[in-house]
Symmetry: C2
Subunit: 387 residues, 2 copies
């Protein structure tokens, strides 16, 4: 009998200064020392006595530490992956202690370009150092150490979160039992870099960007909303767009012969663009997309050779891709799987049939659920046996 | 033996006022009467005595009347489809009289939003009427009448030019013997509308756009260049981007950890965006993309039913698509072919293998050449026989 699904209920974001003011620093991939660093995080479920049941959830570009449950009251402000995290869900909080933190460079509580630089008393803006996915993971490692977790049962994420999950397996092979890489590549393709570059261009060339110094003034909302609109096209698929919008008009029954947003798809994008501006920082968009563009584990760990890079992996690997994802297409996931298979690593791969495009990692929970929960359960059993 | 290829040599753009000032108008699809209309056009080769050898070439979004040969001196300013038009080429100017004109709404000689409105003495700007692909074709028909051509041997075009070629076959079934529709759909997909919408959004929200009234002032160069960058991504393919750029850096051997355009693909897009601003009018971009978004021949001629729309076609049809074209993908061409086949119309279809994406219609001339020249020759022979 399948277990009934529940909610983690009302949760709170916690904040911890992991790298202390003026005393400690972390060495970033760019070579600079950087600190202080505050991290925003949430946890769901309970850490067991042996500290062997911790799962780190990594968020995508626009995510936050608030992955599950509600803020304030039941029903309010639901976490971004609530469908996948909770009692009886893909990541079962009755079994596992789940941690999610906002990434370094983010704008939802963790230190980023909108944070105050203690040396100047003003927001960092464009003086924030250019960071990498590796740097984000270093900060997550500090959080996991702080929480007293010697080794993660699993790291899981989709899109940019999947890049972090892969980075964990490579950077800290002894600190993670399994890594679940969903809809993410081992290195960004030139097409993805191109989309990111246009989005950044729109922000940087927005007059309000003002070299990154716009806090407390007018924000570069035009540039950020255009970047988000481009993003949303890449998160969907041609098929999904046919299904969701077709050529349907928004409110009129006939063409308006004007430049209003008359097609439903136009109106959708416009809404998504404007909504994003209210909750996201344009500088974070720059830094986080740049971190993704730089992501290339073959280069970072294998001198350009993916197989060589993967040699260091010790964790079990689960790779998921989606048939209609054209942002990070299945062939990119297969590149990873293929390298891992050649190395006889413990890898499972599923290419999930869907028309939802890249967004599928957030939408096709039902299809992911059994794969993820079985994989985590098996990893947990293996680990218990080998103790 | 294959004929040696040559050039049409030095050519000139001609201008003709087809709809006269304050006396004549054409009825646009929006319902408005509009005039005067000047058309910029070029011709190559000679019209035969029987006037049966005329081929109309229709240009894509950013094209002009200058399709072949040189302006000024040999070697200068080569026409946009020079590789396909000339003695011994796909469209052989030793056999055919070739006509190409700038579209209505354009910015290269034909009346468009940057033209002077004689009623105000100022450029139309946003007061220019919203036009359709059908309106462009109506103006081309006036030009063909003016040139004394009773029936075209062929109409040919790629991308938006292909939409015009299809529109000709539907709007003027008795005035065209054959239509060659390259890399074009019977109706724009929501994904294509989405990309167009983001481009228009970038222009309209550029402060310099000023409700379309920017002539003689600062032009909305940021918006237009962003629109063009988005366009260029859609004209290429993932494969072509891997081949052309990969993850190669522009000038440095290592990552710069800054926001410069360090990847080659970033630098390419930036260059394309800036170059476009020098030669293209932002308002024309708005009008022409809107005309494409509105393009839906099933709706215009078949009450939403493509097969019903195609019933009126009397010309031979040649449909070409390219395997890696994801802007106007092969399945869209196949929709047309399938409808034509069901109606037992005279249709040929080739899905050309290439990694060049949508740009293939301009790049894969060698693969298109024999198909196009054989089709035109056969059409010409048929017509001669039936006379």
């Amino acid at each position: 009998m399948k277990k009934k699904k529940g909610s983690v209920g009302i949760v709170e974001t916690k904040y911890v200064e992991l790298v202390k003011d003026k005393k400690e620093y972390i060495k970033l991939d760019c070579g600079k020392d950087f600190g202080p660093i505050t991290v925003a995080y949430e946890t769901y479920g309970n850490l067991n006595r042996e500290k062997t049941n911790a799962v780190l959830v990594c968020h995508a570009l626009s995510g936050t530490a608030h992955a599950a449950g509600y803020h304030g009251n039941i029903g309010n402000n639901v976490g971004w992956w609530d469908e996948a995290i909770g009692p009886g869900k893909a990541i079962d909080t009755d079994k596992y202690f789940v941690v999610c933190s906002n990434v370094l460079g983010g704008c939802a509580g963790t230190t980023g370009p909108s944070s105050i630089n203690p040396q100047t008393g003003k927001p960092y803006g464009a003086s924030f150092p250019v960071i990498t996915i590796g740097d984000m993971v270093k900060v997550q490692k500090l959080l996991i150490d702080y929480l007293g977790i010697p080794k993660l049962l699993g790291v899981i994420g989709g899109s940019m979160g999947g890049m972090q999950a892969l980075e964990w397996a490579l950077r800290y092979p002894d600190s993670v039992c399994s890594s679940i890489v969903i809809a993410a590549p081992a290195r960004l393709s030139p097409q993805s870099i191109a989309f990111d570059a246009v989005g950044r261009n729109a922000i940087i060339r927005d007059e309000n960007w003002n070299k990154g110094d716009y806090y407390g003034k007018s924000v570069p909302s035009v540039g950020l909303s255009i970047a988000r609109m481009i993003g949303h096209i890449t998160y969907l698929s041609d098929e999904a767009m046919h299904r969701k919008f077709g050529r349907r008009l928004q409110s009129k029954n006939q063409l308006g012969f004007d430049f209003s947003k008359e097609f439903q798809v136009e109106s959708y994008l416009d809404y998504q663009g404007n909504k994003f501006v209210e909750r996201f920082d344009a500088n974070t968009y720059l830094y986080v997309t740049k971190a993704m563009d730089y992501f290339d584990v073959a280069m970072s760990y294998g001198e350009g050779n993916l197989e060589k890079a993967m040699e260091r992996i010790k964790s079990r690997m689960l790779i998921l891709s989606f048939t209609s994802d054209w942002l990070f297409p299945p062939y990119q996931s297969w590149e990873m799987v293929s390298a891992l298979l050649k190395l006889k690593k413990d890898v499972s791969y599923f290419n999930i049939e869907t028309d939802c495009g890249h967004d599928a990692f957030l939408l096709e929970i039902e299809k992911e659920e059994e794969i993820i929960s079985s994989f985590l359960d098996a990893t947990f059993s293996n680990m218990e046996k080998s103790r």
